[in-house]
Amino acid sequence: MLPKTLTAAALRPILLATLDAGEAYGYQLTQRIEWISNGSIEWNSGTLYPVLHRMETEGLITSFWKPSDSGPRRKYYKLTTKGKKAVEVEKANWMSVHEVLLRLWQPNVSFG
């Protein structure tokens, strides 16, 4: 289980990336993320919704209620154009952090 702060920080790019694959509702998102992470990322799923709301206020995603065939209506989320750009930015940011860490963790890292 990841520390809470790291989960909180990672949740945003993860949600952006997940939604980039297509619109989804809340529970669906948790399912997708759990599946893709193979259970290595676990968090209080309730935390998801405040983050989604914030992203919505920032204009990265929009939400809409949609009736479902099987049961009650569901609230779906989907990326906006701004959100699509944000996916790229997040990707670049996290990749650069990732690369730095990879280099640092080489067995005999040298700085010269």
Binding site: G26, Y27, G46
Partner: protein, 912 residues
């Protein structure tokens, strides 16, 4: 399987979900939308888990765990939502919730106040007085800080002062030579203007109306640099022309009538100026010119506002002073106040550095005389200098009174704190119930602070009424005229802040104590735990209160003793029953006839003339010669010229030789000196010793003169400011300024009427003004009298407040120990013994405060007294009196409560 069966029976998912939902119901951070979404999430997850083989109950537990608890979720949602809450009107809900909380505080506070009426009265009346004192002090300090701030250029005006360094350190002079103004203005581009001013007194006359006023000679830029707006005339040119005068509105009204504005003949009209007098320069060179000088009115200025440190009614061009006293335009005499107006970009510090040597460069005799700049706004409050740097002055009184105001407020707060904590046991069950139903300590703290703020707000309302009542009295004492309606909004905000602050300070400790009480102990009936262990703090607070009171009592007694001492000290002459009249108009010429007529009156004992006010001799002269004087020797003499009957009128006491006799001494250089002069010059045989005022020696006549008499030292100045120095007396010869009239014993009132009648006969057209010489000493000690009145009132308030607090504590002790008293009585204890037992603890506290306060008070008062030229020593008796007073009052307070209890029959006590 059987386990599953049983749980299935007892577990109902819908009920469980309802319960889960209800937890979120009272969290304002969730909206219905959110709740729906969360519940859907939860249901779907549960469904999935059941499909995966979980029981309903297991699935519910797992899904809710996964979703997160109420507290965590609420917090996360709140963070995101605050903005939305505003928009969705939820803010209103939030506000309503807070209002209902505040309403609850108010209700509880009021209920408690009503329930314990006596305590509430003590608390509130204490706070009323404390808040009143604090606010009055604030108003006074605020008024003092606002002095001179109304000048638009206030932050660009600087006073030029001179730091003169010598063997005895650096002294700072506020007066400068006239040519320095031009030198500064032309030599330094950052100086926009330089303004000389020199105070004068004169009578202004317009035909048969005259008015005696104080005014200034001032540079042409005066009305542009300062903000004294002209109602008529041109500020830029009004003072440019010698022969002009600018008058205050009030003076114009006196001379030209109330309708002067409709009759535009005022500008350009002429008034005459008579009997100028100027006390310029540090050495008090008094100059008087007997002349009717015609002046053209070139402007009228609005009356000087109250918050101006300069109060004057006319201004003359400074050139007029130069024309009249030719030597003033040289670098020698330093008579003028010199102010510079800097341009907006100027850096005063940098300029100050550049200015330092200017005086020495222009006046070679002014070695080690450096110029310094003091911001104009600081000159009023920081008027004392030490070693060339500002060293307080008036501002110290501000600090002092500010501290006293705070001290009073502190005493009131302590009363509140002590009474509330002492009473806490009575509220123990209320607290316990609140705690049991789930009040967190923080919300209890909030509640108690809320209550104490409510109490102090109630007190504040009372304080406003009290302030309105005492403001006029306060104004008379401090010389600050203010009515409740004049108090600006900003000051009321400060008052509100003081009120809330007081509530917080007073309620802080009780809130902590009350909120941290142990519920189980209370419920078991052991509420005593509330006070035990807290007594230390309460005792300390009582000691603080009484220390402040004792300190103020000692202060009051000492100030009073010192003032008494100065008022009653033998002045070396008898100034009682003597009035002074200024010589002006025809009085000078017709003095002999005036005197003859007066002395015929049975109400008048004697009449004489002098150059100076006998109680305020300002003429200092170092130009004195005597046989054997060394070139390097300089002795500063006070010089007093008087008629030969001066000694008789003032009842001076002769030590040896004789007083002047007009028949022998007229035209002779014969002098009477005081004992201090004899001591200073070291004369063994003073009578006949060759002596003279230096400037007379070079004049016509018989060269050096001699001492013919020695008079006992008499005071010619404020006892608080100057010690008696050498003094020389000669016969008046044109320097007479005052006529002194001694009334026959017991005839003062009738004498005054006779004097006025004779005066009007000789000097019609001049307002009759006769002042008792004694009034001068009232002037001298006016400041100290303010301190006396204020310290007396504040000491009284402090002791009353401290006693109110003690009364409350005593009443509380008695109430707590009724049972004990009853048992003691049954067992045969005498009433005095019970009173002793009850009072002991509190009286010990008061004694402890004596130990704290007396040394502090002694030290503080000794340092206050050290600023007086003539001072008392602190009396051990004063200390004892203060000690006895505080113990006595405290014992009386506590004893009354104890007596009330011991007077009751044991059965009554035990039944309670």
């Amino acid at each position: 399987m059987s386990k599953n069966q049983t749980s299935k029976k007892s577990f109902d998912l819908d009920v469980a979900l309802d319960t889960w939902r209800s937890f979120f119901k009272y969290r304002p951070s969730f909206f219905t939308d959110d709740m729906e979404e969360l519940e859907l999430h939860l249901r779907e997850h549960i469904q999935h888990l059941i499909q995966a083989g979980y029981s309903e109950e297991e699935a519910f537990r797992e899904a809710t765990r996964k979703l997160g608890g109420v507290a965590d979720l609420g917090e996360d949602f709140e963070k995101v939502y605050w903005r939305k809450i505003k928009f969705r009107g939820q803010l209103m809900a939030e506000v309503l919730l807070q209002i209902s909380l505040v309403r609850n505080y108010i209700t509880t506070a009021l209920r408690n106040l009503v329930k314990y009426k006596a305590y509430s009265a003590l608390n509130i009346s204490g706070l009323v007085v404390g808040l009143t004192a604090a606010f009055l002090v604030f108003l006074w300090i605020d008024g003092e800080m606002a002095v001179d701030a109304f000048h638009e250029n206030a932050d660009r005006l600087y006073q030029v002062k001179i730091n003169a360094s010598g063997d005895e350190g650096t002294s700072t002079w506020s007066n400068a030579p006239a040519p320095l103004a031009d030198a500064l203005e032309t030599g330094f581009p950052e100086i926009e203007a330089s303004i000389l001013s020199l105070p004068i007194r004169a009578s202004l006359r317009k035909e048969d109306r005259a008015s005696r006023e104080v005014g200034y000679f001032a540079s042409p830029a005066f009305f542009e640099a300062y903000t004294f707006p002209l109602i008529a005339g041109d500020a830029a040119t009004a003072l440019a022309q010698p022969g002009n005068v600018v008058l205050s509105e009030r003076t114009v009204e006196k001379l030209f009538g109330p309708d002067w504005q409709t009759n535009d003949a005022v500008l350009g009209a002429s008034v005459s100026l008579d009997n100028w007098q100027s006390n310029g320069g540090v050495l008090g060179n008094a100059v008087r010119i007997e002349a009717n000088k015609e002046l053209i009115i070139a402007g009228v200025f609005a009356n000087t506002p109250e918050e101006s440190s300069m109060q004057f009614d006319f201004v003359l061009p400074v050139q007029e002073a130069m024309n009249t006293f030719g030597h003033l335009s040289s670098w020698g005499p330093r008579w003028f106040n010199l102010m510079v107006l800097l341009d907006e970009q100027a850096d005063a510090n940098a300029l100050g550095d550049k200015l330092q040597g200017v005086l020495t460069a222009n006046d070679p005799s002014a070695v080690d005389h450096a110029l310094i700049l003091q911001p104009y706004l600081e000159t009023y409050l920081n008027d004392a200098f030490e070693d060339g740097r500002p060293a307080g002055g008036r501002v110290q009184r501000l600090y002092l009174l500010g501290l006293v105001g705070l001290a009073i407020l502190l005493i009131a707060c302590i009363n509140f704190t002590n009474l509330l904590t002492a009473r806490s046991s009575q509220r123990a069950s209320e607290i316990a119930v609140r705690k049991v139903v789930g009040a967190a300590p923080s919300s209890l703290v909030q509640q108690f602070l809320g209550e104490s703020i409510v109490t102090s707000v109630i007190a504040a309302l009372g304080a406003v009424v009290l302030i309105a009542l005492v403001l006029p009295v306060f104004g008379t004492v401090t010389g600050m005229q203010l009515s409740l309606g004049d108090v600006p909004v900003g000051s009321w905000l400060v008052f509100a802040a003081i009120t809330v602050g007081t509530g917080l300070v007073a309620g802080f400790y009780p809130a902590l104590v009350l909120s941290s009480t142990n519920v189980t102990r209370i419920i078991r009936g052991n509420s005593g735990g509330l006070q035990q262990g807290r007594l230390g703090v309460r005792q300390a607070l009582v000691i603080v209160q009484f220390s402040i009171s004792v300190f103020l009592i000692v202060g009051t007694l000492t100030v009073h003793d010192q003032l008494d001492y100065m008022r009653a000290k033998d002045l070396g002459m008898d100034a009682g029953n003597v009035v002074s009249v200024r010589i002006e108009g025809d009085l000078g010429e017709q003095y002999e006839a005036f005197r003859t007529q007066l002395e015929r009156m049975p109400t008048v004992a004697s009449v004489t003339r002098s150059s100076e006010h006998p109680l305020a001799v300002a003429n200092m002269n170092s130009n004195v010669v005597w046989e054997g004087k060394l070139d390097t020797e300089q002795v500063l003499f006070k010089v007093l010229h008087a008629d030969d009957d001066f000694a008789e009128t003032m009842k001076l006491r002769l030590v040896e030789g004789r007083f002047h006799d007009d028949a022998i001494d007229r035209g002779q250089r014969n002098y009477v000196v005081n004992e201090e002069a004899v001591r200073t010059l070291g004369l063994e045989q003073p009578i006949g010793y060759p002596f003279a005022l230096g400037y007379e020696v070079d004049g016509p006549g018989p060269g050096i003169g001699k001492i013919v008499g020695v008079v006992e030292d008499f005071h010619t100045g404020s006892l608080s400011e100057e010690r008696i120095g050498p003094l020389v007396m000669g016969l008046v010869d044109g320097q007479e300024n005052f006529i002194l009239v001694r009334f026959a014993p017991g005839q003062a009132a009738a004498g005054m009427i006779d004097l006025q009648a004779v005066y009007s006969e000789f000097n019609a057209g001049y307002p009759f003004e006769a002042a008792y010489l004694d009034d001068k000493s009232e002037d001298f000690y006016a400041n100290q009298q303010v301190v006396e009145v204020l310290s007396r009132s504040f000491a009284l308030i402090a002791i009353v407040l401290a006693c109110l607090g003690l009364l409350g504590l005593a009443a509380f002790t008695v109430q707590q120990r009724t049972m004990e008293i009853g048992i003691r009585k049954v067992l045969g204890a005498s009433s005095p013994h019970i009173m002793y037992v009850l009072s002991k603890e509190l009286i010990v506290l008061v004694m402890a405060s004596l130990v704290v306060a007396l040394p502090l008070a002694w030290f503080a008062m000794d340092s206050w007294l050290s600023s007086f030229a003539y001072r008392i020593d602190i009396n051990v008796l004063t200390m004892l009196l203060a000690a006895a007073l505080s113990i006595g009052i405290a014992a009386l307070t506590v004893g009354m409560q104890a007596a009330k209890a011991t007077g009751l029959r044991p059965t009554v006590l035990l039944k309670r």
